[in-house]
Symmetry: C2
């Protein structure tokens, strides 16, 4: 007879096979029993201060490691992760949401159990809007297959999924799981052949082709193919803001971030004057497109993503992104001569410290450019932390994390928790505004308990600076915290308050040396100081308000 | 020709008429223009550190003032209030959610605008699950009527509603609003007559009737009728935990909190041995029913709520709660002789300080009972802050706020912000565990900026104590913060760390004298210390895990 294990153990077994090493969340009575199972499993439980922090941490974990998971109680826990899960959906990050719920036996006669909102399906119905697939494990006959299907959906679409376990089902025995099968969809061979041969003709016929690389390359693990394609053909590569660091920014073929009229002028000119734009893994969002200032002529574009392959004005069905890329690599694409193209590091590394000068956001980023180390992952929150960071030169791949499309504030500090647990060799450099820090910055509490060592730069411009640029009013002012004194509340970290370039330099050096706890640098900026990039983008956003 | 105003101004006009004096929330570009309108209106904007805090504040504001409102940007703001709004739905608190969204003109060709998740309806579809009515103001021909209908739904059902304004609709002119009409539904006269006469017969025929008063009396403003009914008939009144303070706990007819086997034994015996239980405004939740240990025989019950009037095993349709109560007051109900019944203050006021003794949670509540002042509103978070507080004697009406059914942690500190703004004569006494404080306690930031003066008691038992009682594991441990040192981060407040009864006494006196800022008292408890009430309830909860 086939071995049997409990539904809870089955789920844990599959999560481990999918490479979930940590589970973020907060226990509650509807999920306590599952937390107990996790304690006796290879998965390490990470209890955060709030559920939304757990969601952001799981999202960052997924971006670094390929999959992430969060475990919450019913409704009071679940709804608190709705925003991070929505962000993971929008930006294609495969986060597994595991939620407890009232037991099936408790539901008879529809009683008013605590945490219930409208009926027992309410939470599931909400998450159906925010995830790509979901299951309620209320039937032992199907629970195993449901778990397999839903986890497969997460990895195939790189989007969050929702798994709900009524608490009296956790221990119910079902047949033990078989071998993990990863389904891989196949292209229609004729369509693939036609698409590739047309693309090759178009690329080889172009005088100045350019690759525009975006975030899906990262999510689907296709970055090595991108690097090989660029190496083989010497076609210059631009990245989008959301896709920043999808290729090493020191790669000789890399030309910088393209974001329409919002970005550097030389990159815009180079991309928009190209006679063949090869868009790989692109997500055509408003911010990626420079608030729709991007002028890309469809008639010269090849667009390959997980959702479609399109050449000029026609689309190919049943052509898989990975197979299309592999076929391009095998195809007789011309190798281009070495030629001049925009250099993203131009003007960099020229930072000369002026010790007594008040620090500004532009100078802050110049200094950070020289400060970046090979083992760092830059995590940018929303606002100038993101816009200003677009000019940072990222050394390796996958080393820049930011919710650049969904743009939910409060991502960065919890994301540092997730990123450093996903890869302990990475050291997070967190860039976060004061408004965003007030939302989730106290998650340093968990970071401290686990002995992690992010360097957190609070760009303190005394309020919601992006909105100040768009339209100012008293609603953009916030309470001034003494951020650098947080180690007095959460014992163990280090804090610095800096107003000058010299003090910033000193604090950065101390932060680098401190590998045993978080370091927080409270960078005091002028209320109206902003980066050049932010100035450009805010002007565009203001036109829409 | 009729005067015209913009859709945004129309909404503000109606909100003011419905007695919305403050709007909690965080601005964002999709809602900035509406924030600007608010600045030039009688409504005061209160920007919180996080949206969920704004939701809790609006909920508490609604509980004190009759209506509350929260204003957020699209998705990243909206989903962050989903949990407080779900709680307001479960506990019948009329919170108006106002959200911005992308302009109608921007939506052509379904572009990927920032903050968007799946499609432009996603947020509305989520809130349809969590509110009683909703509207998207995308059509000037219907916008006014939609606003009127949705606000009417909120006040009639005492549940949250959702109003979404595409940002390019805010300034669109529509006819100015007419007189505000409050629809009031009427009972069917024959049904009302029959129900009342049967109820009167049953009450007058009973030897020991008792009233069980619950939260709907508060929400629907029917507390004066309850007091008159008790004064007129001398029928003893018990309250539920959710309805605690619905009648002054010093009222001579009040006998204490009934919560099945979870509460005081003498109250349980009194209610369960009654031959006529008059349940008024009851919400029969698991915690209200002492995790279903309540033994109430339907055959002796009269249940009157906003949703139905039921006597024994039959229900009356089309009978309004208020009209039923008014008719009872006019009916020839016997006046009962003064007689012995449980005294909720028995054993109270006997607190003798033992200055050197380590403080315990039971002694803490005994001390607080003597400390309560007439102008205080007690706001209890989840855990022993709630369970232990059930024996506090509340002086006036409506002075005990807690999410006792939905039981979402993190309610109390933001609720203090809402409650004190709703009624500046109230001084909040906040009872909050350390786990809940880590979720939203930093909202003291906003409290400080507005010069409010709550007294915050952090019951610091070093983790999730309720869960420890149910089932302990390392996931119930949290990072130890130096809570009392928060005034060093948020300048202006006062903080105390207390370990003994003497130190607690000293801190309470200093808190009382400090009317200019928040006072935080970090009460250091033993990890396994708990109130008698928590011990009882946790044992019951543990059986369900």
């Amino acid at each position: 007879m086939k071995k049997r294990i409990s539904i809870g153990q089955y789920l844990i077994h599959r999560l481990v096979q999918h490479d979930v090493g940590h589970m973020f969340g907060i226990p509650g009575d509807y999920i306590l029993k599952f937390y107990d199972l996790l304690e006796h499993s290879p998965i390490r439980t990470v209890v955060t201060t709030r559920e939304d922090s757990a969601g952001f941490a799981a999202d960052a974990y997924a971006r670094v490691r390929g999959i992430g998971a969060v475990c919450v109680t019913y409704c009071v826990g679940g709804f608190n992760v709705s925003n991070p899960v929505a962000g993971a959906f929008a930006e294609k990050s495969p986060v597994i949401v595991v939620s407890g719920s009232p037991g099936m036996k408790e539901r008879v006669h529809n009683p008013l159990l605590h945490h219930k909102v409208r009926d027992f399906n309410t939470q599931k119905e909400v998450f159906d809007k925010l995830t790509i697939d979901s299951a309620v494990l209320d039937d032992p006959r199907t629970a195993g297959a449901e778990i397999d299907r839903v986890l497969d959906s997460a990895t195939r679409h790189k989007r969050p999924v929702y798994i709900e376990i009524p608490r009296d089902m956790i221990d119910v025995p079902i047949p033990a799981p078989g071998r993990l099968e990863i389904r891989r969809e196949r292209s229609d061979p004729d369509s693939l052949k036609e698409a590739v041969s047309e693309a090759v003709r178009m690329i080889n016929g172009a005088k100045r082709p350019v690759i525009l690389a975006d975030v899906e390359l990262h999510r689907f693990g296709l970055q090595p193919l991108l690097v090989r394609l660029a190496d083989k053909t010497r076609i210059p590569v631009a990245a989008t803001l959301l896709g920043k660091s999808v290729i090493s920014e020191k790669n000789p073929n890399y030309i910088g971030i393209y974001e329409g009229a919002m970005g550097r002028e030389e990159v815009r000119l180079f991309v928009e004057s190209s006679d063949c734009v090869i868009m790989l893994g692109t997500v055509l969002t408003d911010i990626n497109l420079g608030i729709f200032t991007a002028k890309l002529d469809r008639g010269v574009c090849i667009e390959a993503t997980s959702e479609k392959i399109a050449i000029r004005h026609h689309a190919f069905e049943n052509v898989q992104f990975r197979e299309f890329l592999l076929a391009l690599l095998r195809a007789p694409l011309h190798r281009r001569p070495q030629h001049g193209h925009p250099n993203p590091t131009e003007g960099m590394n020229e930072y000369r410290i002026r010790p007594e000068a008040p620090i500004t956001v532009n100078r802050c980023f110049q200094r950070l450019n020289a400060f970046l180390k090979d083992d760092m992952v830059v995590i940018a929150d929303i606002g100038d932390a993101l816009f200003g960071a677009s000019d940072l030169v990222i050394h390796r791949r996958t080393e820049f994390l930011s919710p650049a499309y969904y743009t939910s504030m409060g991502f960065a500090v919890p994301a540092a928790l997730g990123a450093q647990l996903a890869n302990p060799h990475l050291r997070p450099l967190v860039l976060v505004g004061d408004g965003a820090f007030q939302m989730t910055g106290m998650e340093l509490s968990t970071i401290q308990r686990l002995g992690l060592s992010p360097i957190v730069i609070v760009l303190n411009n005394h309020g919601y600076a992006t909105e100040r640029q768009i339209h100012d009013g008293p609603y953009n002012d916030i309470t001034e915290w003494a951020y650098h004194r947080l180690p007095e509340i959460i014992p163990g970290g280090r804090g610095f308050k800096v107003k000058t370039e010299g003090a910033f330099d000193h604090a950065l050096k101390a932060a680098l040396a401190n590998r045993r706890s978080f370091t927080l640098i409270n960078v005091i900026l002028d209320k109206f100081d902003r980066s050049i990039a932010m100035e450009r983008i805010a002007k565009r956003l203001a036109k829409k308000v």
